[in-house]
Amino acid sequence: MIFRFVRKGRRERKAVARRVVILGLDGLSPEIASELMAGGMMPNLAGLAEKGTFTELGTTCPGISPVAWSSFQTGVNPGKHGIFDFLAPDRRRYLPRLSSVETLSAEHRNRFLPFLRPSMKQVVRLLRKSRPFWSLLGRYGLRSTVLRVPITYPPEPLDGHLLSGMCVPDLRGTQGSYTIFSENEPGAPFTGGLWGRLRRRGDCAWEASLPGPYEPGGDPACVDILLQKGRKGFMLRAGGATIPVEPGRLTEWVELVFRTGGAKVRGIAKFCLSLREGNSPELYATAINVSPMSPSVPVSHPVHYSRYLAGINGNFATLGLAEDTWALSNGALSEEAFLDQAWSIFEERRKMFLDALQRNPSGLVACVFDTSDRIQHMFWSAGHAQGSPVFDMYLRMDRLIGETVRELGGRDMLIVMSDHGFTSFHTCVDFNRWLLENGYMVLEEGVESVETSFRGVDWSGTRAWSMGLAGIMLNIRGREAGGIVEPGSEAQELAAEICEGLLRLTDADGNSVISSAVPAAEVYSGPYAAEGPDIIVGTSRGYRAGWGCVTGGVGERVLYPNERHWDGDHCHDHRLVPGVLACSRELSAEDAEIVDIAPTVLSALGVRPPSYMEGRSLLPRDDGGEE
């Protein structure tokens, strides 16, 4: 403590807040919030609006969570932090990869026992560039507690505590793959999960193997599970624990231990039993989350922080995208079970957020809640009338705001914000098909469509390709492995031509599908701007990049109906989906952008925002004066 006191720098300006609390509600829509506030349904948010600030918050281009939250934490545009989408293109192999994290494997030999067989050691690297604003606060003796802010995995050191959010993998190394067990094989292949057979053992018992992390040899380490039907109902034995299982309800977290490469890897999972036709059991297991008590990969800084949270509040979801939207889309989870899962994750996070508020009387406390985003993705078409999941979600978020306000002291400043808003998603747009039909992409002879990863694309004749949710890349010579477009004027002319063509795209009713298409150079600036797409496409309300096209597929039609449960989205023209900004203080918030949050927080705590930050402080009369 004395060391901290001695080394801390003098703040450069007068602090207007002793503590800044940021409550991030992913995807909260200003339109719906305003409507519910007007109807008196969100009194706590209305209270903030009355005494402080409530306005729209401009999001990034595109308005996608990893991009927007990266700009939130760094105060810069994607050209400076290098995150342009969930996926980034591997231009040498034309394959998608995760934009924010890189996992490498290296052979590791024991220094003291060199004769032992070397093991494979994983190295995880955060690909987000620039610096989060909380890393600056530590210099001035201001501690930060940062909970589940997206794109913070692997956790970077800071003066305080950090729990990583979006992009934390599961034990299989994926962004979340569930397992469904049944006696019979599923009729059709499905995405986002694995299938395992429930083997009957006697009349009233079934056994199965739950695959976990992959061994160096390539096979997954497994944990045996046993489902038994008794007089009192179903019991599940897994990982040394025996727990009751109620059909249709998720269990508590079950701790699982996998033995891989001579080491124990600990994970946690929840289960849900469904009884299908003929009372045939079907058992769902969530993605195997990294155990917060014994994390096999670091999910917090310091590493004990996740242990502390698990010790105080019990186990919690560590997976980046913990709400299992794939399972709901595929019918592995019912709507009730999905909501149960989403709200239990919300409750876990609420506890840790309130704990952080009580333990940190100064500095920064920031927490992001994803439940709002996931519920709107999955239940948007049900509307937000009273009784709908979206309506209930807005009310619960308002109660959370109320709880947070009650924890505030007189010198605290609360910022409630969302990274983007929401709108409908009823029609998929296959950009690759459009490129194909307009002569910008060529398929190999005999190939009519491509399922994924551009298998069957003739790169020697392809001038443009699309991957991800909002971008089109040009096949530039010297940059892409099989590039044919000359950089410079040829590329610029091609980009302009494609933009023009996309803006003319209409549906059968003559509605415009694309509301903006601009060369990336007009949007991004910074050292990493060239790593993003060459054209940024903003779709109109209701239209979004098609499911196959996102991962390098080429479908059969340019426009086709979105038949998935995922019927709300925000990956459109970013001007259509602004986020929410509410504050307990009055701010100069006209045309506020998400990049303004970092300089605002720094200024509020008496720290001059660094010159590389692009946003402005929203504090009124903030002239950047010295203390």
Binding site: M1, H161, Y305, R307, Y308, L309, G311, G314, R359, P361
Partner: protein, 271 residues
């Protein structure tokens, strides 16, 4: 109560019978390990395992909370307070299994104490016997003492104020089965030469429930004139393990604890 005592003694005799012709340490080790394992299984059966696990995790979290918030003295104090509360709750959780195990443990302790704490009388060895009278001690020359194969060594001491009389016996032809003092007939030390058998260290004419916990005290039929109790000063016994002299209590506590912890580890029992 005597019948229960008889059954308990028989039960322990039976358990230790296979070790009767081995040095006594083997029987003691066996019963220590077996009782350690037995206690841990009983603990699992009667304790709230979920509650203990939850509480232990919470206490771990509270300790980490102190370490993580060391720059905030108020938070540290709050965590310290919570830690004390959690420790109290932990002790409350342990109370039920401890109460359930208390009586069997005391019976076991008494049995082991009776069998392993003292050596029996040996030839040429003098044992002091002190007898207690209910009221006035009769004159020394009128106290009648008989015992087989034993020599009463004078003088016979009488302490009137304490209503006690003391005398010494010296072994001559092996241990006597019993002694008789003023008509009160009581078993004597070392009635059985096998290791692990009960070494009587006294007698009592007043049977109480506590007799279950003190099998080394022979319960006798009272006589109007004779002593109501008596005790024999026998030499203590120790056991050589790892080149050190261990009392039976040390052997029992160490080995039962090691066995219990090993059992808990293998069977994943939370303590």
């Amino acid at each position: 109560m005597r019948h229960i005592s008889f059954l308990l003694n028989g039960f322990f005799d039976m358990i230790l019978y296979p070790f009767g012709w081995l040095p006594p340490i083997w029987g003691l080790l066996f019963i220590s390990v077996a009782s350690g394992l037995g206690m841990i299984f009983v603990f699992r059966a009667v304790s709230d395992q979920e509650g203990i696990a939850r509480l232990r995790r919470r206490m771990g979290g509270e300790i980490l909370g102190i370490l993580l918030h060391v720059s905030s003295p108020i938070t540290v104090l709050r965590f310290a307070g919570r830690l004390i509360r959690s420790n109290t709750s932990y002790l409350v959780l342990l109370l039920k299994p401890l109460l359930v195990m208390a009586v069997p443990f005391m019976i076991l302790w008494g049995q082991l104490d009776a069998r392993f704490s003292s050596s029996g009388a040996q030839e040429g060895f003098q044992v002091t016997v002190t007898v207690q009278y209910a009221e006035e001690v009769p004159p020394a020359d009128s106290i009648e003492i008989t015992a087989e194969g034993v020599l009463v060594v004078p003088p016979l001491m009488v302490v009137d104020t304490l209503e006690q009389a003391s005398f010494r016996l010296e072994e001559r032809n092996g241990p006597p089965a019993c002694i008789t003092v003023d008509g009160v007939r009581a078993g004597f030390a070392g009635t059985d030469t096998r290791s692990g058998s009960i070494v009587l260290r006294g007698f009592d004419a007043d049977p109480s429930p506590l007799v279950l916990l003190t099998p080394m005290v022979h319960v006798v039929e009272g006589s109007g004139e004779g002593p109501v109790s008596g005790w024999y000063s026998l030499p203590g016994k120790d056991f050589g393990i790892f080149g050190m002299h261990w009392s039976w209590e040390a052997v029992f506590l160490v080995f039962s604890m090691v066995a219990a912890l090993a059992g808990a580890r293998i069977m994943k029992i939370r303590v």
